[in-house]
């Protein structure tokens, strides 16, 4: 009897224990190493689907004045990329050869190709390689509908963003070495800018053309556009820092004409 009384009254002394749930922080697990080092793919020249028949335009690109210095890239955040260089890597805004020759100039037939003429896009892909946290090649030409194969040769994250107006843009990620992504462009555009936002210094430029009459100048400044049918053409040379220049060339038959361009470094 007495025990019952005590138990009833004891209920009044119920204690409520309030405990605050402490949030546990999830600690970083080491990243899975699913990246395989693969041999850097060589930078390929744009594949041309044109036969050797027809006229050819060759020339040399030069510039006057002093080329601006390419900024040195601070790659300390990306040891894997930094290790691929002996000397500190620089950006490739102006790549000059001996005697002021200029590389990475996109030269193309801006007008003069008869309208209505269709040029089938090559099935061979143009390769854009990300190697040492730089793009190879830095400037490329590609036809509408031709596959652009984007390869990552670095064991680090790259995103590849295409900034375009006539084409739909894209922005895809490649967090590991050996990854490949293929994209095509649907409209002519000079130039489509390609960039990596993880590495703000990485820029590449793609000239997208409806015909195969384009070329990118080599370090000796030389370029060749071949297979041109007879006609009068406006040739434009584009450089990322020095702007554009045009020339008019008339082709009659299978001859070879010369068109040299000289930019002014300011």
């Amino acid at each position: 009897m007495k025990a019952r009384i005590f138990s009833v009254v004891g209920g009044m002394f119920l204690l409520t224990v309030c405990s605050k749930g402490s949030q546990s922080n999830v600690q970083a697990a080491p990243p899975s190493s699913s990246t395989n080092e693969s041999a850097p793919a060589p930078a390929t020249a744009p594949a041309s689907a044109v036969s050797t028949a027809g006229g050819t335009i060759t020339g040399k690109i030069k510039f006057t004045g002093t080329a601006p210095r390419n900024p040195v890239i601070d790659m300390s955040e990306e040891a894997a990329c930094k290790a691929k260089y002996k000397a500190p890597p620089t950006e490739e805004n102006v790549v000059a050869g001996p005697a002021n020759t200029l590389a990475n100039v996109f030269v193309y037939v801006k007008s003069g190709v008869p309208a209505g003429q269709n040029f089938p896009a090559p099935t061979t892909a143009v390769t854009l390689d990300q190697n040492g946290c730089r793009y190879h090649p830095h400037v490329l030409g590609i036809m509408v509908g031709q596959p652009l194969e984007i390869v990552n040769s670095d064991p680090v994250l790259h995103n590849i963003k295409a900034i375009a107006k006539a084409n739909r843009p894209f922005n895809v990620s490649q967090p590991g070495a050996g990854m490949k992504t293929t994209r095509t462009f649907s409209a002519p555009e000079v130039m489509v800018n390609l960039e990596c936002n993880v590495h703000g210094w990485m820029h590449a430029y793609a000239g997208v053309r409806p015909d195969p009459f384009f070329s990118v100048s080599k370090e000796d400044g030389s370029f060749t556009i071949s297979g041109l049918p007879p006609g009068t053409y406006t040739i434009e040379a584009w450089h990322e820092k020095f702007g554009t220049q045009t020339a008019t060339v008339t082709i009659a038959g299978t001859e070879s004409k010369t068109a040299n361009f000289t930019f002014a470094a300011h």
Binding site: M1, I5, V9, M12, F13, K20, S22, S24, V26, Q27, A28, A29, P30, P31, S32, S34, E77, V156, L157, N159, I160, K161, A162, I163, K165, R168, P169, F170, N171, V172, S173, Q174, P175, G176, M179, K180, T181, R183, S186, N197, V198, H199, G200
Partner: protein
């Protein structure tokens, strides 16, 4: 049946003429008459209003590079874009008006007229279960690292990764990597599903790429990408913080001076949102600091205030100079002569000079010449002390000589944590607020992120809130109820005992 068909046709027909009327009235102010994102309001906004002429949209259900579906666009119109100036229009415009304006917006870009561009929504599926469990979060964290989220969003997700200072959109406007601890500010929504959709589609026009290719490339599975989304969601609180007006400072024996002292852990935290200072020139429309988290404690003779805020940079930091230049350029500030310079981070705590007896308080924005306010000004270049002084308006601050407030500061992965400590009493009661228990003391906060170009009037501000130093509870508050209960118990037992005595007495009889 007929009504259903009617409803269908209503939904399908979109009238661009009436759409234009809606657009001109409600949208053109920011997005511009020609949809180029260049309306009058545009120069005050980061991120800027969408330029409809390029046909590029961040919030989509479609793969990177594809146009959004009508449903995607309607969602942005209906719900708005959190963290930006774009409000939701669902309650303001009718269904018909929103559909019409959607149709009109699409006329600004030729891509929508191109029949080869058929947006196809990704089949996202639904999140795998167990998303908040430790195992799921561990997998999420593992892939957060391996797919490189930390490069921009940082190791702890506060948008402070090594690439963060260089980010810009396609038009060159400055961009912040999202602070993943503030999911209520995610443009496309803060649920696990929203986050997963952004991982799959990317945010076109921004540095945020699509991670869909990684599934095709077998770098990870859909489930593992869901885990990343669940991990990211876990960084933010379960619910968006709500403002509670009064910071309670409990009484304690000794004050923790270090921001990371474990004595702070059980103390209640209060969140206060900050907004841009747009009252005085030059105005600031794009503050980087979005809010402060405040804790307070006091002893019999001192008070400690712990202020925590997310800031992507420990300023001054020269790696952010490019970002500062982009911010100043994008805002076309009142003062157009601004040059990008290195600036420190700043945090100011403001009180009245004395505790007001009535409802009236000094002007919240740094007082006025006739009614100054008492402030503690902390600057990241002098971390161990804050300068105390009187502000007499936004452009006049008179430091009180020798009146320093002791501070301890920690900068850690995109976050400042600063503890201010001062004696409750002050030698000079006319200008340095004496703190008292049991009174509502007005308090306000101001923050500047130097690496966002903020200094002086260019800052984030709050309104007045309150600080209350809880009075020591007298011992009788705890003892009286116990005494009363013991007394009741005793009396009750006495009554029962007497009753039992009587019963047994009768039985015996």
């Amino acid at each position: 049946m007929i009504s259903a068909v009617l409803a269908m046709t209503m939904l399908l027909t979109q009238d661009t003429t009436t759409g234009k009327t809606v657009y001109v009235k409600w949208c053109a102010g920011c997005h511009g008459d020609n949809g180029a994102g260049d309306g009058a309001g545009a120069r005050h906004m980061i991120p800027p209003p969408r330029d409809f002429t390029v046909g590029l949209y961040q919030i989509r259900s479609t793969p990177s590079g594809q146009l959004p579906t009508d449903g995607d666009l309607l969602r942005s119109i209906d719900e708005g874009l959190p963290g930006t100036a774009m409000p939701g229009w669902k309650s303001r415009l009718s269904d018909r008006q929103r559909r019409d304006v959607l149709a009109y917006i699409k006329t600004f870009s030729t891509f929508f007229a191109d029949t080869t561009q058929r947006p196809q929504a990704i089949k996202f599926g639904s999140p795998p279960s167990g998303g908040s469990g430790a195992d799921a979060l561990r997998v999420g964290r593992q892939f957060y690292d391996s797919i490189g989220c930390r490069k921009c969003h940082g190791d702890l997700g506060r948008g402070d990764g090594p690439s963060a200072p260089t980010l810009k959109d396609d038009a060159g406007h400055p961009m912040f990597a999202a602070n993943l601890h503030e999911n209520w500010r995610f443009n496309g929504g803060g649920t696990v599903e929203d986050i997963y959709h952004r991982l799959r589609t990317g945010l076109d026009g921004t540095p945020m790429p699509s991670f869909s290719d990684l599934i095709e490339n077998k770098f990870l599975t859909e489930e593992q990408l869901w885990r990343v989304a669940q991990y990211v969601r876990s960084l933010s609180p379960a619910d968006a913080p709500v403002v509670r007006d009064v910071v309670h400072a409990p009484l304690t024996k000794t004050l923790p001076h270090a921001p990371d002292d474990s004595a702070w852990t059980p103390v209640d935290v209060y969140w206060f949102p900050l907004v841009g200072q747009i009252v005085h020139k030059d105005r600031w429309f794009a503050p980087a600091v979005t809010g402060v988290w405040v804790k307070a404690l006091h002893t019999a003779d001192s008070i400690a205030l712990r202020v925590v805020w997310d800031d992507r940079s420990q300023s001054p930091d020269s790696t952010w100079l490019g970002h500062i230049a982009r911010v100043l350029n994008a805002l076309q500030n009142d003062d157009s002569t601004l040059k990008p310079v290195l600036l420190p981070d700043e945090l100011t705590v403001q009180f009245p000079v004395s505790i007001p007896s009535g409802m009236e308080r000094p002007y919240f924005l740094m007082g006025s010449p006739s009614a100054p306010v008492y402030q503690w000004r902390w600057v990241s270049t002098s971390r161990d002390t804050a300068v105390a002084g009187l502000a007499r308006g936004i452009d006049r601050f008179d430091p009180i000589p020798t009146a320093f407030v002791r501070t301890q500061a920690v900068y850690d992965h995109g976050q400042w944590r600063v503890v201010f400590t001062r004696a409750l009493a002050s030698p000079d009661t006319t200008s340095q607020l004496p703190f008292r228990t049991g009174r509502a003391i007005p308090v306000a906060f101001f923050a500047s992120d130097g690496s966002n170009g903020e200094h002086g009037t260019r800052m984030a501000i709050s309104t007045w809130y309150f600080l209350a130093l809880d009075e020591p509870v007298p011992a009788r508050v705890f003892i009286s109820p116990v005494l009363a209960m013991v007394l009741t118990l005793g009396l009750g037992m006495l009554v029962v005992w007497r009753a039992q005595q009587k019963t047994s007495y009768r039985r015996q009889q």
